[in-house]
Subunit: 273 residues, 2 copies
């Protein structure tokens, strides 16, 4: 029984949370699956139900808990976690309007306000990219929490801290900026990997030749800020190499990206090209 | 004594190489330092001399071998490694014209042809970004080798294989494409990290909150090609989120980069925006 109870003193409050948190989950995608797996690993978390619309996908969850394929919560929970895509938010509103518990979504880009006002609202955003069949170490994933009152923040903090060593409280504005930063360092970076793959394979060189460089580029950040880690012709203002490389690019899309990013780097370091 | 000798049978040839390779090094920068350290760790490699123009930087090498601050090789070597910046190539030509040994540069973007025709020429290009005071695991660094005849390829292969488990033979054209791919996945990616840092710190969120995502974005490539790993609003064709995020970006440079990369991702997945 982990429900927040206003009759409890702070000490008792902590004790109650440590006993058990009941979680119900909406959604069957990658985020829902990874959260579910992480929850199952904790004796202090009980997943009372998983609801969604994809019957096939629900089978996986049905091995360990109750499910509902009409996306309707029927089990009592302390926290209802809505792990569906942003597009599906309008559809799920009817399922949560009367819920008696804390209702949180897991989206980086959506405000807390997308949840109906009739419930206690919050956000539980794990800042990571989740892929089917890839296990991630949840203890290292930053979990960004938000709620409208301190007892709900405490409840979310307790749940998040069971999974991760890195829990931070951020408001909707901050979270949406963080999500935007994630677009640059994940979505856009991955697209650069894609371009790198096209170029190397075009030259009959296997893409994995570039893996150690990709790894080191990421690892370097542990000891060096990106500003200081920057190398290459754009930073040096090496016009000769830039011109030669631009000529080597065959696709006009890649040329455009090369030109723009080169210009942005050169500008950052006061180089004139 | 590892000099290639045409009187040897293939078996003897291998034996001679296994006895000792004498290397002389020109340059005192990051590449030279990291190679030097890697060479010192091998009983089969003897660094006979390091030459350059930076007296201060040469002191470090002088603790373990002979040095020359006029960038002049005086010791006999099997391989002379030119690890200077591309800009310095014209300056070093006079130092190597008469050398009796294999002369190789370590540059990704320069052709073998930049070396004078009077010597046996080759290239020894470790595909990695080297940073002062960061040790890298050389066994995992791909080393791209090139030479004008097979015995020189063998000699370079022997040297490279002592350091790395990943030695590949590539021609100048391929290497320059590989170097271009590296610009995308290292230089440009690092600039995206820089932008991500600006956005997150602008929202009072420490940049290291994004580190696990950066790591996983890179690690994912082990199991998933970049094309399949792509996620985010551009791939989904989610015009609403794209518009919202573009509005959130304050700097016009970041807006431009966001727009162009979004367009390129959308096009890759046949999304119309």
């Amino acid at each position: 029984m982990g429900i927040v109870n206003s009759f409890l003193s702070p000490g008792q409050f902590l004790f109650v949370f440590l006993s058990m948190i009941r979680v119900a989950l909406m959604g069957t995608g990658n985020v829902a699956q990874h959260l579910f797996e992480a929850f199952l690993n904790h004796s202090q978390i009980e997943v009372v139900q998983v609801v969604g619309r994809n019957k096939k996908a629900l089978e996986y969850f049905g091995k360990s808990t109750k499910t509902d394929s009409n996306a309707k919560f029927s089990e009592k929970a302390d926290i209802y976690l809505i792990a569906v895509s942003d597009d599906a938010f309008p559809l799920m509103a009817y399922s949560i309007i009367g819920l008696n518990g804390l209702v949180v979504h897991t989206s980086g880009s959506s405000s807390l306000e997308v949840l109906p006002k009739t419930v206690r609202r919050g956000v539980f955003y794990p800042l990571q990219t989740f892929t089917a069949n890839r296990t991630v170490d949840f203890t290292k994933i930053p979990i960004c929490i938000e709620a409208e009152n301190s007892s709900d923040i405490n409840l979310l903090n307790t749940l998040a801290s069971l999974l991760s060593n890195h829990v931070i409280s951020v408001n909707s504005e901050q979270r949406s900026k963080l999500h935007l930063a994630a677009v640059f360092i994940n979505n856009f970076t991955n697209h650069l990997y894609f371009i790198g793959q096209q170029i190397s394979e075009n030259a009959q060189i296997p893409f994995d030749t570039l893996f150690p460089l990709i790894q080191e580029t990421a690892n370097k950040l542990e000891t060096l800020a990106p500003f200081d880690a920057q190398t290459g012709p754009a930073r040096r203002g090496d016009a000769k190499t830039l011109k030669k490389q631009l000529r080597q690019l065959e696709k006009s899309d890649f040329k455009e990206i090369y030109t723009l990013l080169t210009r942005s780097i050169a500008k950052t370091y006061g180089q004139k090209l």
